[in-house]
């Protein structure tokens, strides 16, 4: 599903490519009257939608999430009263999911090209990732850094025993420890992804320079 040629699942709304300012304002207002909280809730909803499409259909997750938000925003702008915005968004997402599946069936070549993209990125060296990881771990606060080091230490039984002991020492359940490690990991991962993007950017520009 492309971003410029959407069709509504229920057939009632006209196609629209992006969430316009009015629709976005309506959506934010419904999410929370306080602007900063509304922005955070918008990001959270978008993340849930993206993961939903990712887990359900694989490809085109971002596009599916954006299309869902477009439709929800349009409905709000049209005056539809929505009490449970998350539940409503999920309902719309399921309709969009059906459309994506239909479209994916129709154009397998697009998926094939996506798979090729994945193959290309596979053999990349891990060395720059380690360099970025070290840099990002240095920036991380000491508590989280030590938590990650302890949580991911070892392998197999050593790792399992270690995690149990950490959880006992911190008076946490294993589930809570996992969530705490996940939050710390997310911070580092975001930093590392940004670091890698910065490293890659100049190479892309060089590759596009014409050769004499």
């Amino acid at each position: 599903m492309g971003r410029r040629n959407h069709h509504s699942a229920d057939g009632s709304a006209p196609p629209a490519s992006d969430l316009g300012p009015q629709s976005l304002a309506s959506l934010l207002e419904v999410l929370d009257p306080e602007p900063a909280a509304a922005a955070a809730k918008y990001e959270s909803l978008r993340r849930k939608l993206t993961k939903f499409f990712e887990w359900r259909v694989g490809a085109l997750a971002e596009e599916g999430a954006d299309e869902t938000l477009n439709r929800v925003g349009r409905k709000l702008q049209e005056g539809e009263a929505i009490r449970n915005i998350s539940g409503y968004a999920y309902g719309v997402a399921r309709l969009v999911l059906l459309e994506i599946r239909r479209r994916t069936e129709q154009s397998r070549t697009a998926v094939a090209s996506l798979q090729l993209l994945g193959d290309d990125e596979g053999p990349e060296s891990v060395a720059p990732w380690l360099a970025c990881l070290d840099r990002c771990l240095e920036k991380l606060d000491r508590n989280n850094r030590e938590l990650l080091a302890a949580y991911y230490r070892g392998d197999g039984q050593e790792r399992i025993a270690g995690r149990k002991l950490i959880a006992q020492t911190l008076s946490l359940s294993l589930e809570s420890l996992r969530l705490r490690a996940h939050r710390a990991r997310r911070k580092v991962e975001a930093c590392v992804q940004e670091c890698i993007s910065r490293r890659k950017a100049p190479r892309v520009r060089e590759a596009r320079l014409p050769t004499l």
Partner: protein, 298 residues
Amino acid sequence: MSKASTDDQLTRYLLGELPEGESAALEEEYFGDDACFERLLALEDELIDDYVRGALPATRHAQLDRRLRETGQWRRVQFARALSQRFGANSQTPRTAATRVVIPLLRRRAEVFVGALAAALLLFAVAAGSFSLRNAALRGELARAEELQRSLVKRSEELQRSLDAEQAQKEAALRQLNQAHAEGKTSKPARFLLLGTVRGGVANRIHLSPEVDPVVLLAPGEEIPYPLYRGTLRTAAGESMLQARLQSSSSATEGTTLAIEVPSRLLTPGQYVLTVEGRAQRGKWEGVRDYPFEVIRK
């Protein structure tokens, strides 16, 4: 997803192995529950870690491999590889803080001793790491307490500054008032009840003396059913001068009235109209009545 949902069920969802009905129920739950969603994300991390370490069964490895390629998530895999290399069993680089000393020592001893002794040392090392974590947590709490204390001191200073400013404003206002009294510029408000439109011209006349300020115009309100009112003051030529929300009040002498306060200086001698409009909670403003009046200066 209820709390009874096992990691295995959630993992099956992440791999697309869960039946449609169960998947939909789980999705409804995580769309409404951030904690549930975060639990899935954390499990997904572990799934990718297992994938990178080759710890998944072949079919699941193939499934996840396909999904990661389709979603262009090779970067997440690379990150998991880096994390595994840095901290995992085959880590060849120095470990950070707590593990830096403990684990290499443990490894050397583990090579010398066998079986249970090695396991005991391993647990000791992990415990040391854990105690270090607890210490780090306590240090963190102390730092947060200090930060809180600093912010309270800062807030207290801000409040003091605010109080000082307010005090200064009050003193200035008091000075102005004293000065006005000294100059004999006393003023007093006056209330005028307006009657509705009557045949034969202007029915209301307001006689204003110089010391009157402000002028409170009152319109009878008992027969008016709206919850909200506004008044617009216009010249006889229709030029709008002032518009404000009307305040409703009741008294034994005046009954229920709607009041608007007008600065005396606006009311030069001449003819005016006060237009009263009413509005239902979510409706439009509707005209209620016009109250023409004439101002005569003494």
